[in-house]
């Protein structure tokens, strides 16, 4: 699979497409994503492209984070040089806020360390997948969490209007089946939305417009990848 991008959900709006029809879109600030490291089968045990997104102020970046993007002339580096080890190429960019990897598994990609990936990688693409973390709703009842109907407002219903009702049978089986839907933590998990149409990929402004909704709040980090569903 070709390498995707990291981005930030900006918000939703609507735009007119060429035919004059309205399209509901989500605006994603996607890239530029510097390639930080190419992982190889020999050294790391798997093949992947590691990319970053966002700029972290250097004063907030830990030494290890700064070392990820640039060679810091420190003790470990000196030891490696003395031992005759070759230093890894570094991207030489600002420390990124987010770092993610895309597994390549022997497939061809033309990424080099230090290169900036932009929305141009999706320019030819008609559809993408977007991965994000959905909005956390805390401990939610069954009506919100599982779309239960709840109970009646009147006709003798007392204080249980938003309850789920029965959760099982009686003496047989004398237990609640596993997987019975009840109240609990809702949201805040990784969600993948597949096959979203790319409405526009604006390289100048690093904007990607995809049709429909994507998971998470505005400002949340998302991963955009080429879809494998057609």
């Amino acid at each position: 699979m070709p390498v995707g991008l990291l981005g930030r959900k900006v918000g939703m709006t609507q735009v007119y497409v060429e035919s004059g029809e309205l399209e509901v879109v989500t605006v994603i600030e996607a890239g530029p994503c510097p390639v930080l490291q190419l992982k190889t089968e020999d050294r790391d045990g798997y093949e992947a492209v590691q990319i970053g997104f966002g700029k972290k102020p250097r004063r907030l970046a830990a030494r290890s984070e700064r070392g990820r993007v640039a060679n810091i002339n420190g003790r470990v580096q000196k030891q490696k040089l003395e031992a005759g080890e070759e230093l890894l190429p570094k991207a030489d960019c600002e420390p990124p806020v987010y770092v993610r990897e895309f597994r390549t598994e022997g497939e061809e990609h033309s990424c080099e360390v230090g290169q900036d990936l932009t929305v141009a990688v999706f320019a030819e693409q008609s559809c993408v997948d977007v991965i994000g973390t959905s909005k956390g709703r805390g401990f939610a009842g069954v009506m919100k969490r599982h779309n239960f109907q709840g109970q009646r407002a009147t006709h003798g219903v007392k204080r249980v209007h938003r309850h789920g009702g029965s959760i099982g049978m009686s003496a047989d089986p004398a237990r609640v089946f596993k997987g019975t839907r009840m109240a609990g933590r809702y949201g805040g998990v990784q969600i993948t939305v597949r096959n979203l149409k790319v409405v526009k990929a604006d390289e100048g402004n690093n904007i990607l417009l995809v049709r429909g909704a994507i998971p998470g709040p505005n400002g949340g980090m998302v991963i955009i990848r080429h879809t494998n569903k057609y």
Binding site: G11, V15, Y16, S19, G20, L22, I207
Partner: protein
């Protein structure tokens, strides 16, 4: 400071030639409609009774009486399908939403024509 990306996206989609009209105007709305492969212009005539929203979501509502039945159409202000908006006459109004016209029939639906303001 981050550039306001939302603004960039929306501004590139707004009309280059903003429609100019006021509530109470009687107008002809020329819309492009596609019939098969042929494009033709359809005209909807009526009184503008409401304008709501802003930015990309801004719409206006035109009301007219067709065969004794009130018909209202709501158009997006920024739709590229609106090719032209002709203002036929200005009406005198004292409110921003003319929903009271829905309760009226016949002569009562008329609005007094607004004359250009006199110069001192």
């Amino acid at each position: 400071m981050q550039p306001n990306l939302m603004k960039i996206v929306e501004e590139s989609n707004l009309r280059k030639d903003p429609l100019e009209f006021e509530i109470g105007d009687t107008v002809d709305v020329h819309t492009r409609i596609l019939e098969g492969t042929k494009e033709r212009i359809q005209v909807f005539n009526g009184v503008i009774i409401a304008r709501r929203g802003r930015g990309m979501g801004e719409t206006f509502t035109v009301r007219r009486i067709i065969a004794g039945e009130g018909v209202e159409r709501t158009f997006p202000v920024n739709s590229p399908k609106i090719s032209k908006l002709d203002i036929i006459r200005h009406g005198v109004t004292r409110r921003a939403k003319l929903f009271y016209l829905r309760d009226r029939v016949g002569k009562a639906t008329r609005l007094a024509e607004r004359r250009p303001k006199k110069k001192d």
